[in-house]
């Protein structure tokens, strides 16, 4: 998977306009070798292929089952009740403050410490714009998906003031554990923030590639949840280095087994320097509603709010109303959400293992499984594949054509100084936020393809 950079607007008609348009040559020079070698976006190719073959889509990270009826009903009622003009629904902040207290024993002021945004995407963007200055560095754990800034820097052509540098901190395979040494060595005098990209800025790939397909959600491919010990290390570093922590907690209710979602903000000395972002999207299966929020100490929240007001001004009004209903769902809702996802996860792991994938790392949270290709692939001859021929693409294509199932090549989730291209090319990401019917159908197709 290339680094999400399109081939650029080569079709710029006006030569003069091109001079002032994004510096295309500069941009192309900064493209990775992999992406420059490709004419079209590989993901686009995969998506088109998937559609043509009628493949079952386990690539997209959003549900194909409906949102909870009471939440939809609340949105419908709000539209019918004329709640359609600009509004700020303070009740959302009140409910979030209660949840922060219940879930994390954190006290936030609902009047000042929350900013309701158009999705976690906007909450994150507003946070970055509010806290990160030109020349600052931001640490991001790898594998992850690139944020926009990275695309900008790589692109070299977008004239955004930010010019921040992203420093990728590799997590150690196969369990994606925090490597304390690599982490600590990533800090410099310019490090401003650490991003806990439990699920970072998804879907960027879709828009940036100017595609025609329904976007993917390539984020948090590994399903890793940082352990308490790891969070303590990160927290200690943030305190010692006087950095901010910016978290993305959209999967806060989709954590499995004994892994309870722990927010770094609840660790000692962290509340004052943590910005939590989250949304309704994953918890309530309404990824298209764009209701998210940032939660931070008052003064930081104030700066984020100022930015938000200039970016979109407010989140969609009827869905803010529906958020009130959603956030008042009884505890049973959350426990059955979790149970349902556990069942789906386990089903998919079983399927993948039995057709030959290696699932080293049972996801602890989110809706993805990051599986390694079998040493001897039952679907195709892996030994023929090499980085030069972009095996990840070929394998995924085989999967679509032969097995009728679409997934996302894992290569694109790795960044920075990646020494082991071959190793990284061996991962494929599957989503299990799909209905039982979809998963069963995928299961049948895969098994019949490998004759099991």
């Amino acid at each position: 998977m290339s680094r999400a950079i399109p081939s650029g607007p080569g079709q710029a008609a006006n030569a003069q306009a091109r001079l002032k348009a994004p510096a295309i040559d500069k941009m192309e020079a900064k493209l990775s070798k992999a992406s420059r070698a490709l004419n079209a976006s590989p993901i686009q190719e995969i998506s088109h292929l998937a559609q043509r073959c009628g493949a079952i889509n386990l690539a997209e990270g959003f549900p194909d089952f409906p949102a909870p009826p009471q939440v939809k009903h609340a949105a419908v009622a709000a539209i019918a009740a004329d709640l359609n003009q600009y509004r700020h629904v303070q009740g959302i902040c009140d409910l979030l403050a209660v949840k922060m207290k219940q879930n994390h024993v954190l006290d936030f002021d609902p009047l000042t410490d929350f900013v309701i945004c158009c999705g976690q995407s906007e909450a994150f963007a507003a946070t970055i714009l509010a806290t990160i200055d030109q020349g600052d560095e931001v640490l991001i754990f790898d594998p992850a998906y690139e944020t926009y800034e990275s695309c900008i820097i790589l692109a070299g052509g977008i004239p955004l003031e930010l010019r921040i540098s992203q420093v990728y901190v590799p997590l150690d395979p196969p369990y994606w554990t925090l490597n304390v040494d690599k982490f600590m060595r990533s800090f410099t005098g310019r490090t401003k923030a650490v991003v806990l990209n439990r699920s970072l800025n998804e879907e960027k790939i879709g828009c940036i590639k100017e595609t025609n397909y329904n976007s993917y959600s390539p984020h948090n491919p590994t399903g890793k949840v940082f352990s308490k010990e790891e969070l303590e290390v990160i927290a200690a570093a943030c305190c010692q280095m006087d950095c901010l922590a910016i978290t993305d907690e959209v999967y806060e209710y989709i954590t499995f087994d004994t892994h309870k979602h722990l927010s770094i903000a609840s660790l000692p000395m962290m509340k004052e320097r943590t910005i939590i972002t989250s949304s309704l999207s994953k918890t309530f299966s309404v990824t298209g509603w764009r209701i998210g929020w940032a939660c931070a100490p008052t003064a930081i929240a104030s700066a984020i709010r100022n930015i938000h007001i200039k970016i979109t001004d407010s989140a969609p009004a009827p869905f803010q109303e529906a958020a009130l209903a959603a956030l008042q769902s009884p505890p049973e809702y959350f426990s059955s959400l979790k149970a349902d996802y556990v069942a789906r996860r386990d089903f998919l792991i079983k399927m993948l293992s039995e057709v030959g994938f290696q699932v080293h790392n049972k996801p602890q949270g989110s809706v993805f499984i990051f599986a390694e290709l079998p040493k001897t692939c039952l679907l195709c001859d892996v030994s023929e594949l090499s980085p030069a021929t972009f095996p990840f693409i070929d394998f995924v294509k085989e999967l679509i054509e032969k097995a009728g199932v679409a997934a996302v090549p894992g290569r694109g989730f790795f960044h920075g100084d990646c020494n082991d291209l071959t190793q990284q090319s061996r991962y494929v990401r599957f989503a299990f936020c799909k209905s039982n019917d979809t998963l069963s159908a995928a299961d049948q197709k895969m098994r019949s393809c490998v004759g099991k």
């Binding site: 939809k72 303070q90 995407s121 030109q134 100017e210 025609n212 976007s215």
Partner: protein
């Protein structure tokens, strides 16, 4: 009406108002300290907001640079609070107190029920992109590509932010016409642009071509125009647009055209500058659903631009919000295919409202400037003897019980707006009549 925040004795900060025009922005300054040279508390600069009283307990925040330096005061929030306190009729807020048409609301409801609740494609639901293209063709005669030249955003506000952040280099000059919609200046600061403002002056708020010519330099990257214009109600004439166009072509300057009020064009024909010869290739034309369909809270907007400009805009958009609310996009595609009768009726209704307000303002003693489009009217308040627009607006709330917006905040130089205030007529007729009555009875010329 926006839902108001509950009163609370602990309340220190004004609630974030849904209407950008009523809200303000909080002032704050840039962090000037460097890392590791100073202890953490000093490293972060203080924020001067209405929440100052809370500051001492926390380390001062990390701030945005001079990005948001220029900040307008909390004047709107103060006005809003004052309005509530005095039970004033609000002709300040720029959004309707009536709702959108049923056929559009029903389309959104249907989309939700049909399960269209997951991520839409980043640049827009294809059906909506097509509807936008069709509408644009009807309005301008231009044929554009829905996949490559249309980007759906969370309201026109985001289209503007994405255009600025995606296409403006730090240090680029951008020319605005004052008075201007309040988010332009702040968003341009975020993009680190140098702002030059050309003032539009009463009575007709015409563009001074000489001023414009001398403002354009080799560093000018873009000119931002808003037509029909908020707050003056001016509509840029063909002659003015042609002059702007020739300067842009000569100097290789882009145009960002905010056309959200294009369907509220009453006294003149709305002209999109993108339709002038040589202009499409350098213009970003922005619009939204909210004003035309009285659904300002849905946040459906769009930007139309040639591929090379769309590319930069989409980069910014993908960072800012990534995608736009799916069910509302489906409803918007239905809305934009509304027959001409919808638009004719919209205009008729607004013209009737405008007549009530304008006649009432004249009768009350204001100097009323002709408004050709939008649902705003600018008036000169000086017959009533107040020192400036803010004082007048406070007086109007307290003594008369009506809210208007002081326009000085819409100028780079506030002095230029001190005689002027803005009223809106996007309210039901009963509200307008009641407000007019209060003004006729209680306003006294000095």
């Amino acid at each position: 009406m926006p839902r108001l925040r509950r009163d609370s004795p602990a309340y220190l900060t004004p609630p974030p108002s849904p209407n950008h025009e009523m809200l303000s922005s909080f002032c704050f300054c840039r962090s000037a300290t460097r890392r590791f040279s100073y202890p953490s508390a000093a490293r972060m600069a203080a924020v001067s907001t209405a929440s100052e009283a809370k500051e001492p307990q926390q380390p001062p925040p990390v701030l945005v640079a001079k990005r948001l330096d220029k900040f307008k005061t909390t004047i709107f929030t103060q006005m809003s609070m004052l309005a509530v306190k005095h039970g004033a009729i609000n002709l300040g807020q720029g959004f309707p107190n009536f709702d959108g048409p049923d056929f559009v609301k029903e389309a959104a409801i249907q989309a939700i029920r049909d399960g269209k609740n997951q991520y839409a494609r980043g640049c827009g639901v294809p059906d909506l992109n097509s509807a936008i293209v069709d509408r644009f063709h009807k309005d301008t005669g231009l044929h554009i590509d829905p996949e490559k030249e249309v980007t759906v955003t969370s309201g026109c506000t985001e289209a503007i932010a994405a255009a600025m952040l995606g296409l403006i280099n730090p240090g680029d000059e951008v020319i605005l016409f004052a008075p201007f919609y309040d988010s332009y200046e702040a968003t341009l600061s975020m993009a680190d642009a140098k702002i030059k403002a050309i003032t539009l002056r009463p009575p007709d708020f015409a563009v001074s071509v000489d001023e414009l010519k001398s403002a354009v330099s080799k560093n000018t990257r873009a000119i931002l125009i808003n037509t029909p214009h908020n707050p003056t109600g001016k509509m840029f004439t063909r002659a003015e647009l042609e002059q702007i166009a020739s300067l842009c072509i000569e100097n290789d300057v882009l145009v960002f055209a905010d056309e959200v009020y294009d369907k509220l064009a009453f006294e003149a024909e709305h002209i999109s500058i993108a339709s002038l010869p040589g202009m499409y290739e350098r213009t970003v034309t922005m619009n939204s659903l909210g004003k035309t369909f009285s659904l300002t809270g849905w946040k459906i907007g769009w930007a139309i631009a040639p591929p090379h400009l769309t590319w930069g805009l989409r980069q910014a958009h993908s960072f800012l919000t990534f995608s736009t609310s799916t069910p509302m996009q489906w409803a918007a595609s239905v809305a934009l295919r509304a027959p001409d009768t919808y638009y004719e009726e919209l205009k008729r209704d607004y013209l009737a409202k405008k007549a009530i307000l304008v006649e009432g303002l004249k009768a009350a003693g204001f100097i009323v400037y002709p408004s050709s489009g939008t649902y705003f009217v600018m008036v000169d308040h000086t017959p009533f003897g107040c020192e400036n627009d803010i004082d007048f607006c406070e007086y109007l709330i307290k003594e008369v019980g009506v809210v208007a917006i002081p326009t000085s905040v819409f100028y780079l130089n506030p002095e230029e707006g001190k005689n002027l205030v803005r009223f809106t007529f996007c309210k039901d007729e009963e509200t307008l009549r009641a407000a007019v009555e209060r003004m006729k009875e209680r306003l006294h010329k000095s």
